[in-house]
């Protein structure tokens, strides 16, 4: 690992001052950044340790819950209010990484984690995300783990987070601090598609930091499910995952929330399928139809065509679990 300067930030303002300088990166849990630094995928000159900032709080608000950017993945997943009111988030977090890693990983770091595409990780391979202009190794390579939605020829990597799939489904808002103050954006607009700039994962500016997320109250707690399909039963990234939340009254769906992981460069909200489900009776048949709608526009590559079948099956199964059909 390249030598770097270590700075321990005492305040949010000092963090913002520091990250506005080139070559400087925030470090939180370190579980993604240190890994990437050891491999030479990234090599910052300065690290700003933000773990002493007061951003660990999980606090009820008038209309929901606020979670600080430094709250640990393990703490959030076991928090009483999260478990009771937003079980989908708890389930998504517990499906990710390992207990040790969740004890280190933070909410902000989880959102900012980079893709696990092996061409991104291997510095001898071309990768437009790591080194713009070098090409995409995965496009004609081993692309079993890769995206089926929103791809462009420049990049077919997926965003690897489970937590983010849960937060996308839960209509969360991201709170961002910058030199000019705070701004808030919908979670679904935080991450971006590769387009012409696959090196840019999200809409956070270089001189901004995440300070927390807000989740609005909802009626999905009773009928929520996070289903993650992977190569082994635990401690593996998703091939496909689905976060499903349903608001059901007398067997009729009043509202639905659906998001998928492992299929796109960002957590993939299934807006059209959600709309379809409103007013439908709880039944395997309507779930299957919703899954078909969700798959419109999907496009597979040489080794990930199995996702075209796995994804709708996972959506259907997640909805069955969420609704209590299984």
């Amino acid at each position: 690992m390249k030598q770097f300067q270590y700075l321990r930030a005492a305040t949010q303002q000092s963090t913002l001052d520091a990250i506005s300088k080139p070559g400087t990166k925030i470090i939180a849990g370190g579980t993604n950044l240190i890994d990437l630094m050891k491999r030479g995928v990234t090599a910052p000159d300065k690290l700003v340790d933000i773990t002493h900032l007061p951003l660990k709080n999980i606090t009820p608000t008038k209309s929901g819950l606020h979670i600080g950017a430094l709250a640990l993945n393990s703490t959030v997943s076991e928090n009483g209010i999260v478990v009771q009111k937003f079980p989908l988030l708890s389930m998504a977090l517990k499906a990710g990484a390992s207990p040790q890693l969740r004890n280190m990983a933070t909410v902000g770091g989880n959102m900012m984690q980079r893709t696990r595409c092996s061409y991104f990780y291997d510095t001898t391979m071309p990768c437009n995300k790591r080194e713009p202009g070098t090409g995409c190794g995965a496009m004609g390579g081993l692309n079993r783990m890769h995206a089926i939605f929103g791809t462009r020829d420049k990049c077919i990597a997926v965003h690897p987070s489970d937590m983010c799939v849960g937060l996308a489904a839960l209509d969360a808002t991201v709170i961002i601090a910058g030199k000019k103050g705070e701004r808030r954006i919908p979670f679904t607009e935080f991450h971006r598609l590769p387009g012409e700039h696959p090196d840019v994962d999200n809409t956070l500016a270089k001189d901004e930091m995440i300070i927390g997320v807000d989740i609005p109250d909802n009626n999905f707690a009773k009928n929520s499910y996070y289903l993650k399909v992977r190569d082994r039963q635990s401690y593996a990234f998703a091939l496909v995952s689905v976060a499903a939340g349903l608001d059901i009254s007398n067997g009729t769906i009043r509202q639905a929330r659906l998001a998928m992981g492992g299929v796109a460069h960002k957590p993939w909200r299934l807006f059209e399928a959600e709309k379809f489900l409103v007013g439908k009776a709880v039944s395997e048949d309507s779930f299957k139809q919703a899954a078909q709608i969700a798959m419109q526009g999907a496009k597979a590559y040489e080794y990930n065509a199995f996702k075209l079948k796995l994804a709708p099956a996972t959506i259907t199964e997640a909805l069955k679990h969420a609704s209590g059909l299984v």
Partner: protein, 214 residues
Amino acid sequence: MENKNAHSKPESELEEKDNSRRNFLKQSAFITAVALTPAPAVKAAAMHLDEKIAEAFEKVPVKLEVNGVMHNLSVEPRATLLDILREQIDLTGTKKGCDHGQCGACTVHVDGHRVNSCLTLGVMASGKKITTIEGLAKGEELHPMQEAFLKHDGFQCGYCTPGQIMSAVACIREGHANSETEIREYMSGNICRCGAYPNIVNAIQEVKSGGQIV
């Protein structure tokens, strides 16, 4: 079809070109490399920041309490807790398997919580209490989990074992050892190449049902 998933423009390019280090040093007020100090001292340090950070670029002072013993060390910021434990403090019980968070061989407790020491910077653990496999036994008396691993053959080659045991103790303390399924899920961060899993689960179940305080 309306697609709110469509990408928005990046607000800024990712990395700018590097600037001179001197320039950075001048401008980064209110941050100190050695800030386990109260706020007034931090502000005072900020006024002499050039020197402080220049120092920090080479080595930083790190205080670690490992298994009850205080160590005042001087380390490079890039040194991981794992490497410091093994190479500076000579506690080689904690193992390096993958060095990338993928195997759990390096599991230690920091302030009572299990973490992967291979992805922890030593400097970020400064001021914290570390427990390694060497710190579990009380003198000659093995920790109940160590006894149980011996009794149930919870290992073959033994390379993953220190990490397994540190994780197993945490698993019980966290309250995640209530069934075989739960144990398997909450021990999934520890890979055993020899496949001693069934025996590891048995060892944990025995300690759990024995009701001893771990």
